[in-house]
Subunit: 120 residues, 2 copies
DNA sequence: TTTTTATTTGCTTAATTAATCAACTATAAT
DNA sequence: ATTATAGTTGATTAATTAAGCAAATAAAAA
């Protein structure tokens, strides 16, 4: 099931160090390392604490496909799919809401210009 | 999180007795009862065995209200991609920039919440 | 009601994760 | 090369789930 890999995946996407996570959830570095490397099977409550620290749903940590780097990307469709899949379900939900809103209304450019301003 | 309640819910939907489940997963009746009643927190591997016996995804056992469409988002990804493709090239470019910004930076929810507010 | 089946609870033992400290490795920075 | 930081591993103890049996309770059937 590779829960450890998924945890690591999301942690790196969020650009968090192990140290930041373990201080957030008050866990020893040793134990956390073992979890990320699949040396031990975390309890559900532990998994819950970790997911909250990472800002993802606990179910995200069970997803089969842990996808990797978001560093450079080209403009192919499959790349876009992977990129979306790499997000947490909560984030995906938000993205989809936005996409829907875009198509329903036509206020694309105006609103997006503001978005980019905020993000940058 | 009420995992026990969810387990019981799905078991009853499938019209299975506890006995049928525990024989399928080779577990004692006592322990299984404690799990359904939340008296103990099952390990992930135990939860995995139970989910297989019930014929549901393990993530289903975490959903708040039992009939949730957790996987619906993943299944409609291609649909969403087509949606993106239907936009003009200029609009696509903007969308892609946003997606990138989302993954690279962590300001997802905050910024998007504002976007949706503007769009609506 | 009586009987039978299903589920729950108590108790003990075994197995496994959690917590903790220390030491070791890897990587990056200066 | 040295230092500093991040991550890994080993070993021990504590806490918790799992397994197993027996007994009590609940529910259903006869």
């Amino acid at each position: 099931m590779d829960i450890g890999k998924n945890i690591k995946h999301f942690r790196e996407i969020k650009k968090l160090s192990q140290k930041e996570v373990i201080t957030a959830i008050d866990m020893g570095a040793a134990q956390y390392s073992r979890i990320e490397n699949g040396k031990t099977e975390p309890s559900i409550s532990t998994l819950d604490r970790i997911s909250k620290a990472l800002g993802v749903e606990i179910t995200d940590l069970f997803s089969k496909d842990s996808l990797q780097d978001t560093g450079s990307f080209d403009r192919t469709i499959m790349e876009k799919v992977k990129l979306i899949e790499s997000l947490s379900s909560e984030e995906k939900k938000t993205i989809y809401s936005i996409l829907d809103a875009f198509v329903r209304k036509q206020k694309l450019k105006d609103t997006l210009e503001n978005v980019l301003k905020d993000i940058r």
